[in-house]
């Protein structure tokens, strides 16, 4: 009896193990959950990329002198999620400012061809991003694919000439590593994380 059941038990154990592995221990069923888990477990080094902001100035993506950088990927004519996310981003900026934390917020365009500095300035104006603590910036077209891959952001064209993308807040800690991903409306969690390492 036992010998007859052995291959089946073995197959069930192996099958269960494969599925356990494939879902990171039943924690991540979607690729979005998987990337968030992976980033926390193994923070990724961010390269020294320069971005062009709304005023046409060069700004570094990497944190400078002990600051934390919060990154959102957007395109300026986005009709839905980016607009809501920008309102939450503004709230995070205001509350960080009130607490005097060294944090920089970047809305990075993944459509650098259409999002010229003028276009980004319109978006900045609309959401009260004044370029001081929070600015809107675009990478060089040639840097874009590597950036999207590093942050695991998938951008696909939609039916109306725009894009759909996995919107989130990406945290680059002061050691220059991409270390966490939060929902765009997870204001409290982002504040707790960004303020965590600092007095």
């Amino acid at each position: 009896m036992l010998v007859r059941a052995l291959p089946s038990v073995l197959a069930a154990v192996i099958g269960g193990g494969v599925l356990w592995q494939a879902t990171d221990g039943a924690q991540a069923f979607t690729s979005e959950a998987a990337r968030r888990l992976d980033v926390v477990r193994a923070p990724r080094a961010v390269p020294a990329v320069q971005l062009e902001d709304m005023a046409g100035r060069q700004v570094p993506l990497l944190p400078q002198a002990g600051e934390v950088v919060l990154v959102e990927f957007i395109y300026t004519v986005c009709g839905d999620i980016c607009q809501i996310a920008a309102a939450d981003f503004a709230e995070i900026r205001d509350r960080l400012q009130a607490r005097g934390l060294r944090v920089r917020l970047l809305s990075v365009s993944f459509d650098p061809v259409r999002d010229t500095p003028e276009q980004m300035a319109i978006y900045g104006d609309a959401h009260d991003a004044d370029g001081a603590m929070w600015t809107v910036a675009r990478p060089l077209q040639q840097d874009l694919p590597d950036l999207l891959e590093l942050f695991d952001v998938t951008v696909i064209p939609d039916e109306w000439g725009g894009y759909q993308h996995n919107a989130a807040i990406h945290v680059i800690t002061s050691d220059g590593r991409f270390s966490a991903v939060y929902d765009t409306d997870a204001v409290e969690a982002v504040l707790a994380y960004a303020g965590g390492g600092q007095p």
Partner: protein, 186 residues
């Protein structure tokens, strides 16, 4: 030989749908993937195995089935590594073992598997039509809804298909009453 040719045809058809799979999750999950399973199923059409292998092979097939049902693996199946894994595992580790074990499975186990397949399609259909977020990063929300409805239509079609022999008898074995009575010796 004819079945091998059909298997190759199904596989070729699946490979030909590469571009379509990127554009539409319905083509990916409900056309390309089933074709790959069908390829393995057809390839094993004339093969026989001892009874003892049936359950382990069925478990292997179920594992692979559940693996490719995970939304994150639907995304992964569009990357080069995932694509290769899909082309290999769906025919060889799902279609083939399913075909080999099926003749040994009793009517209760078959019914159990079918009932579970239906309820699972229903749950998936509900999930993909009602989820407030994108479940697969590679597909648009509208495409996600299409996939949800496709799951529901498929569940309805399979329910009808599987209910007909239960309610009205098998088309080849004649009406249920006669077959049932002759089987129980009446």
């Amino acid at each position: 030989m004819r079945m091998i040719c059909l298997a190759l045809l199904a596989f070729a058809e699946a490979v030909a749908l590469r571009e379509a799979a990127v554009a539409s999750p319905v083509q990916h999950v409900l056309v390309q993937m089933p074709l790959l399973v069908l390829a393995g199923f057809m390839a094993a059409w004339d093969l026989k195995i001892p009874r003892g292998w049936a359950v382990p092979l069925l478990l292997a097939a179920l594992t692979v089935f559940l693996f490719w049902m995970l939304p994150r693996n639907v995304d992964w199946a569009l990357s080069p590594a995932g694509e290769t894994a899909k082309y290999i595992t769906l025919p060889l580790l799902l279609g083939l073992p399913l075909r080999l074990s099926w003749p040994w499975l009793g009517p209760i186990l078959r019914g159990f598997l079918k009932a579970n397949a239906l309820s699972m399609l229903g749950v998936l259909g509900f999930l993909y039509t009602h989820a407030p977020v994108r479940i697969c990063n590679s597909y648009l929300v509208s495409a996600q809804h299409d996939l949800g409805f496709a799951f529901l239509y498929l569940a309805a079609a399979l329910a009808c298909l599987w209910a007909i022999p239960v309610l009205f008898g098998h088309p080849r074995r004649g009406p249920l009453g006669a077959a049932g009575c002759s089987r129980c010796g009446a």
